[in-house]
Subunit: 243 residues, 2 copies
């Protein structure tokens, strides 16, 4: 499978962590339950996320080891379309791994001055030191942050700072999914590709149109819709595959 | 988390594969849905599996990289209680990894002559060469095989050979779960510990008692019960955690 190979390659290249592999496996299980496709509520969440990023004064896209391994070109492309910098932000931080992820992003076309996170100069309140590190000109001062595959603690800390946080998380029950402002319950690759397409589509929309999209969205309702879809699929699978 | 650390250590020691980490993550997601405990149908499947192993003429316990990393002492203990040899059987076979797993099992108290799989001298029909390798005196001639965390192809191939196959798999919908004779939908560590306890309990039971346990078990029904339990839990979580 293509994704697994990319991740294994990411580990060998010092970009992805072992924990990243386990997290990916958890995602795979939920994706299996979802049916490995973008469900309508997830697409709605993605559209809202794009509107929010287009409306932002200072949007930032957070990049971890799995994002760098799985969608390097796509995240660079999205960063350019949104004119939003990338910030490397990894759970098990080593300066070596940050450096390798940065090189990887540059290799995939990111301009040097649009990749932050290798010289953190600010701390996010309420997190232990290693996890709190952020760039003052990046996530620390951002009003809207896209954090694909973020952990619950950090997602909650960013929300407490008053930021709008967009998460991509296949588990609609995770702490991240529940804490984020907008949660896209979808596979990372599908979600980022949808975001690229929707950014192009919505780029010329008026502010009031974008604002309406954001106002009409309720994250809790959206998560419930996703959870119901998974539950229904399990009920169906019971009938179809096991009887 | 203890298990993840054991697996990361397993990778560093050359015992566990990257794919093993991803597979563990998938298991974690299903275990989360199950509630991280042994549900009654899983316990019933475990009891049946133990009865089947005690009745066996020639039982064999299959060991892969995750089993060796997560429950080395436990699988050795179970092997001694059941007087069943261990056979190393890994998806991404390299002789180096087989050797390291063997050393690891010996270090955890396995007698040298009870660890097979490093000199395969038979092929399981219907699998590609590397995956088909087995020990003639082990899995190849076994009547009952415990294959924790086995892939679907190999599980099906063993069943086609007429063997009784016991799988431990947290996904009740996986091909392995559906192909196995008895599927224990439970976490590996919990399942193996339950097997140790139940082997001690059932060791002195009569053959007819054990046969009755096996006859009264229906794997399809058991999987449906597990699937319904997961579905109910999702419905409950929707009500409790999101409303």
């Amino acid at each position: 499978m293509m994704k697994r190979e990319k991740l294994a390659e990411g580990v060998r290249a010092g970009i992805t962590s072992f924990q990243g592999l386990i997290a990916h496996g958890r995602g795979e299980a939920f994706d299996y339950l979802i049916g490995e496709r973008t469900l309508p509520p997830a697409f709605e969440a993605t559209r809202t996320a794009v509107a929010m990023l287009l409306l932002a004064r200072h949007p930032v896209l957070s990049v971890n080891g799995n994002v760098a391994a799985l969608v390097p070109s796509e995240i660079v492309k999205l960063s350019k379309l949104l004119d939003a910098p990338l910030e490397i932000n990894i759970f098990y931080r080593t300066e070596e791994r940050v450096r390798r992820i940065k090189e990887h992003l540059l290799k995939h076309g990111a301009p040097e001055n649009k990749v932050l996170g290798d010289k953190p100069d600010a701390l996010i309140p309420g997190l232990e030191h290693a996890r709190a590190k952020a760039a003052k000109e990046g996530i620390y001062s951002a009003d809207v942050v896209l954090t694909p595959l973020e952990d619950g603690d950090r997602c909650e800390a960013l929300v407490r700072m008053g930021k709008k946080v967009i998460a991509i998380d296949l588990n609609p029950l995770s702490r991240t999914a529940r804490a984020a402002t907008v949660t896209i319950v979808d596979d990372l690759t599908r979600a980022v590709n949808n975001m690229i397409r929707l950014t192009t589509e919505l780029k010329d929309a008026s502010r009031s149109e974008l604002e309406k999209l954001v106002e009409n969205f309720d994250n809790k309702e959206n998560l419930q819709a996703m959870l119901r879809a998974i539950t229904e699929r399990l009920v169906q699978l019971d009938i179809i595959e096991l009887d």
